[in-house]
Symmetry: C2
Subunit: 466 residues, 2 copies
């Protein structure tokens, strides 16, 4: 076993989960393979590793993170908590249910630092190409050390792709878009809402990016926020400055025409049009090709490549659950590699996938989707020794979250939930989200007086809490 | 010869030059190799193929072009004219010396269409990886068809890299830059100056990108334009709204502090900080690693890879000359591949490079640089049958251009020059550049009355011609 070699691509929450899974087995006395984790960024955290850069990074590589300064978790932290590393353990006190990005990054990093996994990670190493040799049954992974420019290749028994699929923007074309004189970007390139104050902003899309950036823009004082949907509006109770219109038909300079005949002048356009599964380092016979959905086909149990059972994907699903789902997947992948879980025949794998795909295709509501993904994760956890937790209650929290947004889309982040891991109920944050402009870890963990909390930003343009 | 196979990477001016070079030899009765040209964009033109997109393209690949809507040639067209396809031949009438991008793209495309080279080009094919087998002396080139996602590999006797080196931005870090709340971009992502009207814009850099985007910003009504230089200011006679300051020390929100103690609030920051030689498809033992300069080391005669004489680079130099220099290089590379030019020993190659490098290092002025590059191109043309032309006169035109910018940085594009290819003197454009807001081919080639030309944009914010 010792001379088996495993390459892990990416040191975000998925890659770290995979390293932790192997470390956990080693602590129990199991021999584990040689591990190498390639991370193209300079530090870990993946999506949560904020960069002010857009386009290409300091090495000329596509910027990985789609994070922005003002991002706060848009779901309660109680649904993403690690079963083996709680928020209580990390922060030493109860915190609110919707922490900002720096706080969540700190939590991910804290779990990694508590373990001993950093030694496996090669930072600023980008995977250029992966190939598989049918004769030797080994992968060749070609990598560039971005700091030195040196390229090299090595062979591995297994490859685990934890590169994420929210990094390469999907940007549709609209007639005349090239005549729009203002700023055009994809949500991937959005870095902060301060600059939209007093501006008219158009968000094309009706999912999480549009909802969140639109709400941020309103909070930061945008003059108007227009959403454009293809199929259905989000349908929340927006304030009067925020409007949902159907799809853009065409641009004529700064005037945008919608398919219902309406037109509006806007200053800024943000495409909130989703992301591509894009793995430029994978040959077509091995790659994952899928829309962003809850059950990408060709992945047995959501992780084992049907094309090559030595190849795995973590976090390839659309996500109601995140960190703990990646953990459950990583523990399962570990046990397949260690031989503690035997894979069934290819035919049985296909039947298993078809069964889940059939249920997936029948999902009708958001609550159905939530139950589907919680059941998927529960099923995975049943296969391994990852600490079990109450996924039925997690599903309830998620359903409550959906309802809370319907009740109050601008202020749902002030709601609190109870951890299924520790039983701790989160605290109300010292400052309501709509008037909190400082998303720093320091500010978040501080304990200002009520008056101070509400008045520290006096003079800046902030919408009052509704 | 027929079964020799050559891969050309990129169908911009360099790649098309290479195809034209081989076609020209074939028309003279020479047998030519099998040619395949891989172009990652959907059409030819490379840098001149404008895209409204930034960051990643519709396939998730880094956007190649650094072009913007309002770009007009910043040097006289008389210094980039093809010796085998004149502006007169393409447009059928004299035009001005500084055409906008669409006009130059049309000229490039016209030359390609007049030939029969399109059949060799695979559009929307990105090269993923190149390797060389010392045993077979063949390259393996791995390519993805971006429209289908299919990847494939083939072997070639020669690889010619015409991918360009003005696509991957160099973006230095400044303290506090992540706190800047406005729009930050690199010149690579700049798509048009209309949106800077009434804004305070900071351009970090003191070379062509800063000069041109700054001038555009002024033309389009920016409230103020601040340049920040590291070593020396450009030193032009700027109008009072434009200022040169030394390097940025740090950002503090929207306030920018400079190393001389001054500070300014700005709305937009554009990094005009150059580009990286970045070839993510090349292994380190074959790649070109160089700063952007007039004589990148390890390229014999500026094109033959010292590391592997079967590998070539086109247009890898910083450029006073462009299209006709690429032609001269392509004709030379062709003749090396066809065996019409014999390469000297590796030692003689090194001595030849050292001689040129030594002259390069002694260059003191812009005029020295111009003479250097014109001599380099003349020397190349002497080796092949590319049509000779008066490079001494081209050098004079370039020196005149440098002087014209010193005389009138805002209006130098109204000057005219005489073609060394045809003897045709360019015409004064119907509208002075500073009041011409429409950069379309249609407008450029139209012949409006003087009054109409000057008044068609009445009502828009345009600075008067100085």
């Amino acid at each position: 076993m010792k001379n088996k070699r495993v390459a892990i691509i990416g040191a975000g929450p998925s890659g770290i989960a995979q390293l932790r899974a192997f470390e956990s087995a080693e602590k129990q006395g199991h021999e584990i393979p040689e591990l190498v984790c390639f991370e193209k960024q300079d530090t870990w955290g993946g999506q949560w590793n904020y960069s002010w850069r857009t386009g290409t990074d300091s090495y000329g590589e596509p910027v990985h993170s789609s994070m922005y300064r003002n991002l706060w978790s848009n779901g309660p932290k109680e649904v993403l908590e690690f079963a083996e590393y709680s928020f209580d353990e990390h922060f030493g006190k109860p915190i609110s249910s919707y922490p900002p990005r720096e706080v969540l990054w700190d939590y991910i990093a804290g779990r990694a630092k508590k373990s001993n996994v950093e030694k496996y990670i090669k930072f600023a190493h980008v995977v250029r190409w992966v190939s598989f040799d049918e004769a030797t049954k080994l992968f060749t992974v070609t990598v560039e050390n971005l700091r030195t420019g040196e390229t090299s290749s090595d062979t591995y028994d297994n490859v685990i792709v934890g590169a994420g699929h929210f990094s390469f923007p999907n940007v549709p074309h609209f007639d005349g878009v090239e005549t729009f004189p203002g700023q055009i970007m994809h949500a991937h390139e959005f870095r902060g809402a301060e600059a939209v104050a007093d501006k008219d902003i158009l968000l094309i899309g009706a999912s999480y990016s549009a909802e969140d950036i639109g709400t941020q823009a309103y909070k930061m004082g945008a003059r108007s926020v227009t959403f454009s949907y293809r199929s259905n509006p989000m349908g929340y109770e927006w304030p009067e400055e925020m409007t949902e219109l159907p799809l853009v038909e065409r641009f004529d300079g700064s005037e945008v025409h919608f398919v219902n005949g309406e037109k509006r002048k806007v200053d800024i356009v943000v495409f909130c049009t989703g992301y591509l599964h894009h793995y430029p380092f994978m040959p077509s016979e091995l790659t994952l090709s899928s829309p962003n959905n809850l059950y990408p086909d060709t992945l047995y149990r959501g992780v084992v490549s049907e094309a090559n059972n030595q190849l795995f994907w973590l976090g390839a699903q659309d996500q109601w659950l995140t960190f703990n789902m990646f953990d459950a997947q990583a523990w399962y992948v570990r046990d397949v590699i260690l031989g503690r879980v035997a894979l069934p025949s290819k035919e049985a794998q296909r039947n298993h996938m078809d069964k889940w795909l059939s249920r997936f295709e029948g999902l009708k509501s958001e609550n159905d989707q939530i139950d589907f993904q919680c059941d998927y994760v529960e099923d995975l956890i049943d296969q391994t020794d990852y600490p079990s937790f109450d996924l039925k209650e997690v599903a309830n929290i998620l359903k409550g979250w959906v309802k809370s947004k319907e009740e109050d889309i601008l202020n749902y982040r002030d709601y609190t939930y109870t951890s299924v891991m520790t039983g701790t109920t989160s605290v109300e944050h010292h400052t309501p989200w709509m008037i909190e402009l400082d998303d720093s870890l320091e500010r978040y963990l501080s304990e200002p007086q009520e008056d101070e909390a509400r008045q520290v930003y006096r003079g800046k343009k902030v919408r009052d809490k509704a």
